[in-house]
Every structure is written in C-alpha cells, then in structure tokens.
C-alpha cells in the first residue's frame, strides 16, 4: 500500500514548451481518412509554409520565434457526416477562439488560413461549430456527455505526452498508491458500470469473481475484447484509434484489481489503424514504465500482448475469443465454467469490452458516485452510440443512458436523410432487432430495450427508411449470422441456414403464408437450442421484424409485393410517358444502358436489361420513373 511505497507519479516528459498561436486539429480516424483527411492535413502544413506568416512547429519539440502554428491529427470527432472535420484554435491578445469546419477539402485549406486564421473572419458556409454563436449542428453536441470518449478527437493518440497532459495514467497512479485491489473492485461495483459490449453484465461483479478465483499456479489473465464485429458499430474502433492509452490504463487498473500480470488486447484484423496505434501506445507506455515490470515503482507488473483477430465474428463471444488466443478455431464452449474460474489456458480470466475499459480511469478519478449519478434506473453512466444508415448526422454520440430513441435519432442525428419517412431503427446488430416509430419514445436502457426484443448491444443504431425493406433487412442479418456460425451446434448451424432459405424465398416472391409460420417456429428453436449467444440471439432480427412489421411479410407472401421496392424480384421500374420530358438524365445514369430515347422524346426501360438498381428513380426530377 501507498504508505510503504514511494511511487513515481506519471507526468509528461516533454510538456509543451510553447503554446502555438494557431492549432489545427484534424480527424484522422478511419472515417476521416476515408473522407480524405490525410490530404487535408498535408494541405494545411503546406498552406502555412506558403503563407509566409506562420512557422509550422511541433509544440513539444520546437521553440517559436514570431508566429507559430501546429497541425495535428486526432481520433474521431464524432460528426462523421461532416468529415473531414477541422478544428481551428487561434490565440490572439489573450483570447482563444475555437472554430470547427466540416467537409473540408485540401483546396479549402488555403482559404481557411487566409480568411480565418490570418484575417480573423469566420467562414460561415463551412462552419460546423463555434463558441461565438449557434450553428445548426449544436444539437448534435449539446445532448452529449463524453466520458468514454473524453479524449477521442481531442488528443493526438500517437503522442503519450498528450495523454499524460490530459490526466493520463493518474487513475492508475491513484489505484496503485492509495487503493487495495478490493477497494478498486468496490469502486467499480459502486459505479454501476455494466459491460458495454452487449450483455450489460456488472463490470464490478465480473472483477469480483475473477479476483476471488484461485489459480493453480497463481496466473490470471485480463483480456480486452476489441473484436467489434457487429456490422454497423464503430465505437470501439474509434476508442482504440483515438485513445489507446485509456484502454491500457483501464486494463492495468482491472488487472491490479483481479491480480493478473498478463493481459491481451484482441482486435479484429479489419482495424489496421487501431492495431498500429495500439502498438505505438504500448511501446511508449512501456518505455515510460507505465506498463511492464514494476509499474511506477509500485511492484505491480502488467504485460500486455496485442492479438490480431483473423476474421471470425464468433470470436467476440468470450469463450471463442479465448480459443482463438490459444491458436485454435474460435468455437464457443458451454459455460459454466465461466472464464472467471477457468478461462484462458484454464486460468481465471476476466474479459471486458473496449468502451467499458476506457471509462474505468474516469470512474477512478471522478468517483463511483459521479458515474452513478448519470443514467437511468439500473443503467448508469453514459453509452456511446454509433448512428449510421439513413440518418442525417451519422457519427458517434455519447449520451447518458435513458435518453429516448427519438432524442438520439432526431435531436442528435438530425432525423432521416432526404426527408424520407422513418421506418425503423436497428439496434444491437445481428443479435438485436428493428424497432418501429411507435417505440421512439422509449428510454434507451438495457432493461427497456430488452423488453422490446432488441438489445442495446454494443450501441449500433442504424436508421432505415421507407426505401428499405424489413424482410430484406432481416435476411441481411440472417445471412450474416449464417455465414459466421462456427458450426459447432446444430440448432445454429442448420437452423440459421433454413431460416435464411425461407427469407430468400420470401424476398424472391416465392413465399407462402405457411413460410411465415415455419420461420417463427424455427426461430424459436434456434433461440432456445443454441450453445452460445451468437446462435441464441441470431433469430432476434427476424422475431422483432415479425413482431412489429408482420404486415410487410404478409404483403410479400400474399400480394407478392415489396412496398419499399428493395426486393428486386418483386419490383419493376417503368417510365410514365405523360410525365417524361425526355431530358436523358436517366439514360446517362443507367449503369447497364437499359434506357433508350432521344432528347425531348419519351424514354423507355428495357425490362430484360434492367437490373433494378433504382438509379433512374433517384435521378428523375419529374417523378416520371415509377416503381411498382
């Protein structure tokens, strides 16, 4: 304990020597990079050099004579719809201005430097956010409270000093200096934190079980599950990319609490940027004595290994993940024994999700009560949601538990794209379900969402609109789970296959009313008979779709009609000769040259060639293309 030890308090080795007059911070998360942010970053560096006014410096290493600017990359800034996002901080005469621009291209960098940075003028047309007045995007930020994402999009994830300056590793210091392992477990229990990976089990209790377990040779393991496999969820990706040290710090605190000295971070191979940043962060933390042997001189040692997944959704299941680390096929096994008793290499093992671990240092520094004061009934604290699909403001939003779906989708997300009608929000990925508009006023907490048949899951929220077919969406998830079924237990291996065949049949217009009954019956068997959660929850997308949108299934099998026009076999496109002006817009957009017609003459779609992509339907400004 602390009184007997003198610990080395972590501090930045290179505190900032100078505060630059201008700081430009650019999102270099996967989404930002996809939008071209690397090119934007380069354009700013070149733009400053060309301006002749500012010298580009690295504030920890360089001094500054005259006017200086720094250009740094950060993790995800949240509002992915407006990526690349560029935050510009200018300091002049003792006042600091922060302005964020969106959809920035390399060509805009020069103008931002010229008019805003040098000229002091805010460029309204590109503005996303400023302290100086309201913008249309304020509602995206105002409802949020960032605990897990507190550093993501703010600090440079590749610079450990940035993390240390933002109170990094202070929670681990407090734990090692002032707390016993049992006190740490109690603190996390008291916070009410529940696993953010999907199941929502109490993190503190999980730690308690692993701490109480006795290992035959003393070895215990602490694993971070970064195998974020739900298609459409990217919150863990952004934490790993944007704040890797917070994950290591959370792991080290947990390892101390349960008595583990070796840990693993298991990250899917599809996240190369996250893997690279984790490796950079680990090397820096080891070099500073914040991971490895005798951390901060406390006598506590914790070594972290980084394991790259090899592409298997089922490895997100904890027993499968451990099999995979052991070098085997990632197949789940029956529990009990739970990993806390017998996990990796048959030793007591604790597994937590990325987001769960990243919030642990915050809880230690701010207290369990502060965390528990946020949230709703049995769901404490905040949760990160990934808003995607047909929503205006796609991105990441961290909100206190208990906000309603409507608040998240409409206030934060800005509603449905292109003014289309909301159909459903898909929550919980392949283990979750589609919730209709009538449930939008439900609070988002574990218990309430479970009652609907969906799950909070890892926090993916995919909005679908009138152009998406509910049967096709259910089929999409079934195809996913069917492909990803490990094959060990028959209900999942065979049941999901049969369900998928029925859904294919319905989408292709060959379905009968009996198919709907058969589908529900098999779904129930797969749900109750499968070995692990992958199979046990695989029918959820189908069961919720049947529960809330049964009439769409019935339309498919009785009238052989897809109201969304998404099921190709049930859809035809034609051109209304009355409305067609002969503008040739559809002719140009058709990818298979199925539309013919001279300018100012009525156009015709060749049904033999048409692939039913709907491009002409989207393009026509005169509503002349009809879908039926």
């Amino acid at each position: 304990m602390a009184s007997e030890r003198s610990l080395i308090k972590p501090s930045p080795r290179n505190p900032r020597r100078v505060v630059p007059d201008v700081e430009v911070r650019i999102c270099l998360g996967t989404g930002g990079v996809a939008a071209g942010s690397r090119e934007v970053l380069k354009a700013f560096e070149e733009g400053f050099a060309a301006s002749g006014v500012y010298a580009v410096i690295r504030p920890r290493e360089d001094g500054c004579d005259g006017e200086c600017a720094s250009v740094t990359g950060t993790g995800c800034k949240g509002l992915c719809a407006m990526d690349p996002l560029v935050e510009v901080i200018t300091r002049r005469d003792g006042t600091e201005r922060k302005v964020m621009y969106g959809l920035v291209t390399p060509a805009m960098a020069g103008e931002i430097i010229e008019r805003h940075i040098i000229g002091g003028e805010i460029i309204e047309k590109w503005l996303v956010r400023t302290d100086e007045g309201p913008t249309e995007y304020d509602s995206f930020y105002e409802a949020q409270e960032k605990l897990a994402l507190r550093h993501v999009g703010v600090i440079d994830p590749e610079d450990i000093d940035d993390y240390l300056e933002a109170d990094g590793y202070q929670a681990l210091y407090r734990v090692l200096a002032e707390m016993t392992p049992a006190e740490v477990v109690d603190e996390i229990k008291g916070s009410g934190l529940r696993g953010r990976g999907g199941a929502g089990f109490s993190t503190g209790l999980k730690w308690q079980f692993a701490a109480d377990a006795v290992s035959p040779d003393g070895a215990k393991y602490f694993i971070c599950n970064g195998d974020e496999g739900d298609p459409g969820a990217f919150m863990d990706c952004s934490v790993l990319e944007g704040d890797p040290h917070a994950v290591f710090e959370g792991m080290a605190i947990g390892a101390y609490a349960i008595g583990a000295s070796v840990g693993y971070v298991y990250v899917r191979a599809e996240y190369p940027l996250a893997l690279r940043r984790l490796k950079i962060a680990r090397a820096a933390a080891e070099e500073r004595g914040l991971l490895g042997d005798d951390i901060m001189g406390s006598g506590f040692s914790f070594h972290v290994k980084i394991k790259e997944g090899a592409g298997a959704f089922v490895c997100g299941e904890e027993t499968a993940l451990m099999m995979s680390i052991e070098g085997d096929r990632g197949m789940p096994r029956l529990r009990p024994p739970f990993p806390a008793e017998s996990g990796l290499w048959k030793r007591p093992t604790n597994i937590n999700n990325v987001e769960t671990l990243s919030v642990v240092p915050w809880i230690i520094l701010n207290g369990a009560d502060a965390f528990a004061a946020r949230g709703y009934e049995k769901s404490k604290g905040t949760k990160v949601f990934a808003l995607a699909g047909k929503v205006n403001r796609t991105g990441l939003a961290e909100v206190p538990m208990g906000k309603t779906l409507r608040e998240v989708i409409y206030d934060i997300g800005g509603g449905v794209k292109k003014g289309k009608a909301f159909k459903a929000v898909q929550m919980g990925g392949p283990s979750g379900g589609c919730l209709p508009a009538s449930l939008l006023d439900l609070p988002v907490d574990y218990e309430t969402i479970n009652e609907t048949g969906a799950i909070v899951g890892s926090g993916g929220m995919i909005v679908i609109d009138e152009d998406n077919c509910i049967v096709d969406t259910a089929r999409y998830f079934l195809r996913f789970t069917q492909q990803e079924s490990c094959g060990k237990c028959p209900p999942c291996r065979i049941g999901t296959k049969r369900m998928l065949e029925i859904l294919d049949k319905i989408c292709e217009g060959r379905g009968t009313p009996e198919d709907i009954e058969r589908l529900s019956a098999i779904a129930e068997q797969v749900r109750s008979g499968s070995l692990c959660a992958l199979g046990g929850t695989a029918p959820n997308p189908v069961l919720t779709a049947l529960k809330y949108f049964r009439e769409e299934f019935e339309e498919h099998v009785v009238e052989h009609k897809c109201r969304a026009g998404a099921c190709e076999a049930l859809t035809t496109y034609t051109i209304d000769p009355e409305a067609c002006t002969g503008c040739r817009a559809c002719v140009r957009v058709c990818p298979v040259q199925a539309i013919t017609g001279e300018r100012k003459e009525v156009h015709v779609i060749d049904q033999e060639l048409c692939i039913k992509c709907g491009a002409c339907f989207e393009k026509c400004r005169f509503d002349a293309v009809r879908r039926s």
């Binding site: 939008a35 992915c80 496999g229 997944g309 990632g330 990934a386 996913f480």
Partner: protein, 171 residues
C-alpha cells in the same frame, strides 16, 4: 510450392529467409498457430500447401489442425491472391445505403465475382463485413484506402482512377 524448387531465385530465397525467421521466432510457443499463419500469409500472399506443412510442424500441431484453423478464419487464403484488393463493405449501414448494387457494378466493371482474381492477377474483389467507417457509408476500400459516400456510378469511377494509378505505375 516446394521450397527446393525455387532455390536460386533471389526473390524466392529472400521470402524463404523471412519465412525461416518467422518459424524460428514462434517455434515451440504455445498458441502461436494463428500468428504463424498470419505471418506466412504476409510473406507469400497466401498459404501454399508446403508452407502450411512447415507452419504446422513449427507450431507442434498436426497439419489437419493447421488446415482446420486456416479454413475457419476468413482472413486466410489457400489460393494465390491478386496484387490489389478491392474490398466492398457490406456492413449494415453500407447494406441499407446500397452496397449490393455497388458490389454488382464493380464486379461487372472488372468482369469477376467477389472472391475471384482478374486474369492479369492485378485485382481481386472481396466482400467484407464492416470496415468501421459506417458514417461514410457506403464504403469501398481500395487496398488500404477507404472511399465513402459512393453510388454505383461513383464506385466505378474510383475503381477506374485506381486502375489508372496502378497500371500507370508500370505494373
């Protein structure tokens, strides 16, 4: 591929050196099968049968287990793979935003299906589940670079631009 057959070729012998180093690095380590397979694939681009046998031997496992593991995970390839990869994301956000049609158009443009190589071994198309850029859906990755907010039309354009860069560089 047998290693003896390629002795003497400087490129092949460089690969062989790297492979031997990989085997020695992991030899005898428990649970090393997956990283060994990953390392071998990084060297050879896929997992030829002779390579699999030597991986299994170094991991102290029967070949059947190495094959079982290699076929279980979607990352591993048992056949040669084209030089450049076009990954069409089929995550949920991409799916509901039109990914199936984007895949279809790219496949039509290159004249191959997902999982196949073009005849010149320059391009292969893969369908993947979620690359984590859902905010930019629908997304296609050309090698390591993601392109977002695509339409079928735009997707073919970015692939064409990519081909111009690849083929212009003399490959």
């Amino acid at each position: 591929m047998t290693m003896d057959a390629v002795a003497g070729d400087p490129v092949e012998s460089e690969l062989e050196t790297r492979f031997t180093e990989l085997l020695d690095h992991y030899r005898g380590e428990v649970g090393a099968l997956v990283p060994l397979l990953q390392g071998a694939q990084a060297i050879f681009g896929y997992l030829p049968q002779g390579v699999m046998a030597r991986v299994a031997e170094a991991a102290g496992e029967p070949l059947s287990k190495a094959l079982g593991v290699a076929t279980f995970y979607s990352q591993f390839r048992l056949h040669p793979h084209a030089k450049h990869t076009i990954r069409c994301c089929h995550g949920t956000a991409c799916h509901v935003s039109g990914a199936p049609l984007i895949s279809q158009e790219i496949e039509r443009h290159l004249g191959i299906h997902a999982g196949e190589n073009t005849e010149d071994m320059l391009y292969t198309i893969e369908e993947v589940h979620c690359v984590g850029a859902c905010g930019m859906a629908p997304v296609v990755m050309l090698d390591d670079r993601a392109h977002g907010k695509l339409t079928p039309d735009k997707a073919v354009q970015v692939v064409k631009a990519f081909q111009t860069v690849v083929e212009g560089s003399g490959e």
